[in-house]
Symmetry: C2
Subunit: 248 residues, 2 copies
């Protein structure tokens, strides 16, 4: 779901809203190595719907996904849009969030912080490139290629640290140990922000050492066994504190 | 999708909102003769969520349907909720809206106007029974039993007349000829309202003459060939005029 005021700025281009609504859902399919079969749209009618439809058609054409159905309503107040993407697994078992094991390597495919820079370019109105924020690209091909070889996978929608922490907790008695120098960020001077900002839709995954990866990826750390009282997420050996990312 | 102010009254019991959100989607599956596999919920967090969850659990338990996933957001203003129900066809071809043919009989399973009376009982606060409005019951068993024998089927969500008109238009060159005396209504003195009010979730279907129906149903008319200039919907031989039902 995406809501006016929460997920898009006032005055946002409805084309971009439609694009993002579809793209972020396709990104969830990408993280499962799934092939999209179609989407169902829950649409609150309103201003800019012609432009919304242009964006919807564009993103569906780009990823060759049909609109299968949905619902339209008229409602008061800020608009809320819902979308459900249906996909078919191309590899079973489907990659889970919880499969990381002691000794696995941690990887990310994509660069972190690009959406943050795009958001700022959009907000300050100086005409800078905001495509990474406005029209994210789900890594469908990469997800399908990775599905057979990863031990765990998810898309980085809420910030790298938060999503690493979720993966570590889902896996059980392990910690994610990250190496700051290895993490690919779009703005090195703002490293801490880049690894906490969401909306990048990179793929975060773990794989056993020695696995040959079929797509370009960066190793950012290792998975280690951790006891009950130990930190589940460290950077350069130190436990991570403070806000990890976008909580909602 | 359901939105505060449009699909539920201010102060409505969140239990009922959850029930209805699921039930109306299951009703769409019922009209296709489909077996529910699960639902995906798009939820705007807010007041009364504990009670909403009670209703959600109750309706999912009642129809033995799992919550497969979804999304939660925080948003400003009136709340909007979205739900996608996934089902598996139990008979192919799946009953369409467009299959009515000259000579078919028109049937309805269920009584029309019960939701209207329930809505009024709820609104006037006199403690009358409002279950037909607040907690509609999708006719899943009936839809599955009917799927192999109908020529067209849909659920009556927006009023009998409007949905008859949609079925006639979808079928092409036919008219739906209704017999007022045969239509089962909950409030005979308010016949015109009963056949225009929505939310009843009865099943409306057509079948060839001579077909043995597996569920209790009432024949309410016949399908006839109609030319380009002819009325697509008549009651007692007269074209229907004015508002047919709930347009949205």
């Amino acid at each position: 779901m995406m809501a006016e005021g929460t997920h898009w700025l006032p005055g946002a281009d409805p084309f971009d809203i439609a694009w993002k609504l579809v793209a972020v859902n396709l990104s969830d399919l990408a993280a499962k190595g799934a092939e999209p079969l179609g989407v169902l749209l829950g649409h609150s009618l309103g201003e800019g719907d012609d432009r919304f439809l242009e964006g919807l058609n564009a993103v569906l054409a780009e990823y060759d996904v049909p609109l299968l159905g949905g619902d339209t309503i008229r409602a008061e107040g800020p608009r809320t849009l819902g979308l459900t993407a249906i996909g078919r697994a191309t590899h079973t078992p489907v990659p889970s969030r919880s499969g990381a094991r002691d000794g696995d390597h941690i990887y990310v495919s994509g660069e972190l912080g690009r959406a943050m820079l795009g958001f700022e370019a959009l907000k300050d109105g100086t005409g800078g490139d905001h495509e990474a924020y406005s029209r994210p690209r789900p890594l469908l091909d990469e997800g399908r290629a990775l599905a057979p070889v990863v031990s765990a996978m998810m898309d980085v929608s809420d910030g790298l640290l938060l999503d690493c922490s979720r993966m570590a907790c889902a896996a059980g008695s392990v910690a994610f140990e990250l190496d700051s120098a290895a993490i690919p960020v779009a703005a090195p001077a703002r490293f801490d922000e880049c690894i906490r900002w969401g909306d990048d839709y990179a793929l975060l995954f773990t794989a056993a050492p020695g696995v040959k990866l079929p797509v370009s990826s960066t190793r950012i750390g290792s998975v280690r066994t951790a006891g009950p009282g130990e930190a589940r997420l460290t950077i350069d050996g130190k436990p991570v504190s403070g806000t990890l990312g976008y909580q909602h």
